[in-house]
Every structure is written in C-alpha cells, then in structure tokens.
C-alpha cells in the first residue's frame, strides 16, 4: 500500500471524516510535502471502499457536493495494525535528479547551458528552503507542548536538511562543470559503434571493395599460371 493511502486510513481511525477534511488534516500533520489534491483523495477513498476497509456513514449529512462522511471498518482497523507492525518503513530513498541526467548527456557543446540550469536549480532550492523554514517557524509553540506540532516540525526539518544537501550538491555540480568547461577535459568518444549493426552503405562498400580485391587475386593467379606455362615452354 502507498504511504498516502495508509495515512488516509490511519486518519480515519481517529474519527470519520469527509475527503477534503482528510486532505487538510494530512497536510497539517505531515507538512506541505505530503499535500495531496482532492481528486487523489477521492480516488484513494473509492479504492479503500472497494476493499471494504472503509464505509460511508449513511446517517451523517452529505456536504454541498453530495460527498459522504467515511468511517473505517473493522477490516480497515486490522489493516492499519498490520501495516504499522508488519510493513517495513522503507529504505532511505536516494533522489534521482533529472538535472543529473541532463548534465551527463550535455556533451562539450552544452556546458555553458548546463551551468545556467544548475544556477536555476540552486535558486529554486534556496527559495523552497526559505519557504519551508518560514513554515517551520510558523508552527505555534505555545506554553503547552503539543505532540502533533512537534511531529509536524520534525517533518519540516527533514525537508530542510534535504534541501540544504541539494544546495551543497548543486554547488559541487557547478564547480565540476566549470572545471570541465575551463580545463578542456577529455570526452569519451560517443561515435564508437563497435558491436552495432552495419549500415547498407557499409555493407555495399565492403562488397565492392572485396569484389575488386578478389578479382585482383584471380588476375594474380592467372599471371602465375601463365608464367609457369611460359617457363615450361622455354
């Protein structure tokens, strides 16, 4: 099960809720990284209902758009327990950066453009970092300790650490590409076609060359034979 699906199911253990309410509670609990749109929420809820993990509360009023309050079933509660106790929490995921793919395939002609793209990426990371830091500081810290707010700040601090690491990586990428650009580094040949299929032109050229050479060999053989006959005659 996906993490968002488990999260929605887990929220329903606390109390029955409308879909949009679940989306708001999820973002409030885990931070903006976990924000999911209403369409995704209703799609996930329909899937959970098909599996009989949740059920609509028939005596609760529908909202303006006719959506129903959803409640978790006994099977759903058991599923949440199973997920919490038995499902692995997942290994640390390493990011697959689309920017890295671009840099790796840039080649010598796109080094300047690569630097511009790294600078854009750096700017984007810095803006997101300051936004998330602002959200982190905006979580109220009243005199009473609220665990939900502590855990929200924990999630936001995870995003901050990640973005700081991305900024560090982007600086490294900028230094590396600059080095390649200004030091005239070697590029491995891209045109090497060892082991690839031959083209029609290549096959044709080889056939013509080999036919000419074979004819030349035949001529040599005839010359040798006639020389032998001459020697014998003399």
């Amino acid at each position: 099960m996906s993490a968002a699906r488990n999260a929605l199911l887990g929220l329903l253990v606390e109390r029955p809720a409308y879909g949009y309410e679940l989306a708001n509670r999820l973002a409030g609990l885990l931070g903006p990284t976990w924000a999911i749109n209403p369409g995704q929420v209703s799609h996930t809820l329909r899937a959970l209902e098909r599996e009989a993990l949740i059920t609509p509360v028939t005596d609760a009023p529908k909202d303006r758009k006719g959506r129903q309050v959803m409640a978790i079933t006994q099977k759903g509660i058991e599923e949440v327990e199973r997920w919490w106790l038995q499902e692995p929490s997942g290994a640390a995921a390493l990011p697959r950066r689309p920017l890295l793919v671009k840099l790796a395939l840039a080649g010598p002609d796109r080094l300047e453009a690569s630097l511009r793209q790294i600078e854009d990426y750096t700017r984007d990371c810095a803006e997101r970092l300051s936004e998330i830091a602002r959200q982190h500081d905006a979580v109220p810290q009243g005199p009473a300790v609220r665990t939900d707010r502590m855990l929200l700040r924990l999630g936001l601090r995870g995003d901050i650490v990640h973005l700081k690491a991305e900024l560090e990586w982007a600086k490294d990428a900028h230094d590396t590409v600059s080095w390649i650009l200004y030091r005239d580094a070697d590029w491995p040949p891209r045109h090497d076609r060892a082991g690839t299929q031959r083209t029609h032109a290549e096959i044709g050229a080889q056939q013509r060359l080999f036919a000419r050479m074979a004819a030349r060999q035949l001529q040599a053989a005839e010359d040798v034979a006639s020389r032998g006959e001459d020697d014998a005659a003399s």
Partner: protein, 246 residues
C-alpha cells in the same frame, strides 16, 4: 601463394646470439587466414617481418607467387611490397597531429602519386567498408582503440593488397572490438580472397583463423590433434623439443 622454406634468423646480442627463427616453413594460400600464436619473444614479429619483406632471413627462402622475395634488391622489394603486401601492427602508427583520418588513410596512394581526389574517394570508400567512415574528419587522438585499429586496417586495404600480415591486431582491444576486428580480417580472407597471416600472443584472439600454429623459441608446430598420429601433440618445451603423449 606465400611460401617460407626453412627460414632461419639469428640476432647478435652481447650476451650471445639468439635464434629468433629456427628453420621455419609454412605455406599460405590465397583466401586463407592462418593464425600463429606464441609467447612474447617467440619470433612472431620476426616471422611476419620476413614474410613482409621488411627483413632478410639468414637462410631459407621466401617465395611470393613464384617470385623470390629474399633475392630482390631493396628497391625492388619496396616497390613490390607497396603493390602487394600490407601490414597491421598491435599499435598502429598514429597520424601526425593536424592530419585527418581521411588523409592518413589516403597516404599510401598519395605516396604512390595518385590523383588527390581519387585517393580521397578511395580512402572514404575503404573507411566505409571498415565501418569507420564517421571518423573521416577526425584526428587520430579523437579515436577509440577499436576505431584506431579499424582505421589502420582501412589504411592497409586502401592499396588493395593481396597479402595481409597482422601482428596482434586485437591485442589492445575490448572483447567486442576484438571480435569485430578479427571478423573483418576473416571476411577479407573469405570474400576478398586475401591471404591473411595473423599473429597474437593469445590463441583465443585468433578467431576465424585456420590453421592455427604455435610458435615457440623459433619453432613452428601445429598443435591440432592429427588423425594419423592418433594422439595429441604437446606444446614443445622451452628447449624446442616436441613431446608427444606416451
């Protein structure tokens, strides 16, 4: 087509003479690709150089299509070689910097005072046949090892030789490139009827060669099992004696 009979070659060394080839005989027909393998210093390169007419044997004869190569004057031999024989070495001589691959391949024709345009056209076609036409405008330092060797083959083929001698043509290549280069040499023998003599330290590299001979301390033996003897030859030991299974 090429016949070496009881060819011997000795090199003078301060520590005593060294016998590089000891009465070696072989015969190579047109359309045949013969492989020779043996350890470093076994005489492979000396054998190829003598077969190419680049070196004279101390004794024995080298006959090419009935003509004695070892009896020709240096001038005659050079002219003959340019027309008939081409060599490929483990480390092909690199083109000078500033010289394109196309000019490098056309060079043997230009040296022979052929028309510049015709020479370049022929060079381009040979590059295409060797599957490296895309490298025509590049310089030698821009090529991979496999491409460098294919360019060397193209340069060897541009004069359309009848005899091709290759010394470790695949020794510095990856397995994929080795197979491709040896495949090209095998099709030269099969389709262009060129007589190909290829030497390598590793018997496994002599893909497509038949027969494959073993050269050790200047002695050439055919290590294939022979039905007449009904037993396997063992490779001769370092003293050059041939041992057979008891």
């Amino acid at each position: 087509m090429l016949r070496l009979e009881r060819v011997s070659k000795r090199f003078a060394r301060p520590a005593g003479d060294r016998l590089a080839l000891d009465s070696v005989s072989l015969e190579l027909a047109r359309g045949q690709m013969m492989g020779i393998y043996g350890p470093s210093g076994s005489g492979k390169t000396t054998l190829l150089r003598i077969a190419a007419g680049l070196q004279r044997p101390d004794s024995g004869t080298v006959t090419y299509n009935g003509q004695r190569l070892d009896e020709m004057s240096n001038r005659e031999r050079t002219r003959f070689r340019r027309r008939e024989i081409a060599c490929i070495w483990a480390e092909p001589p690199a083109a000078s910097s500033g010289v394109s691959v196309l000019t490098h391949v056309a060079m043997p024709l230009l040296v022979d005072r052929r028309d510049h345009h015709i020479a370049e056209r022929q060079a381009r076609e040979v590059l295409l046949a060797c599957e490296v036409e895309q490298c025509a405008a590049m310089e030698a330092h821009e090529l991979s090892a496999g491409e460098r060797q294919r360019v060397a083959i193209a340069r060897a083929l541009v004069t359309e030789p009848r005899l091709l001698l290759a010394d470790g043509p695949a020794s510095r290549l990856s397995l994929v490139e080795e197979e491709a280069v040896m495949g090209l040499l095998a099709s030269l023998a099969r389709e262009a009827k060129v007589a190909v003599l290829v030497a390598d330290a590793d018997a496994g590299a002599l893909i497509g060669a038949n027969p494959v001979m073993y050269l050790c301390d200047g002695n050439l033996v055919n290590p294939q099992p022979t039905s007449e003897q009904g037993q396997l030859y063992r490779f001769p030991d370092r003293s050059g004696r041939l041992a057979a299974d008891a």
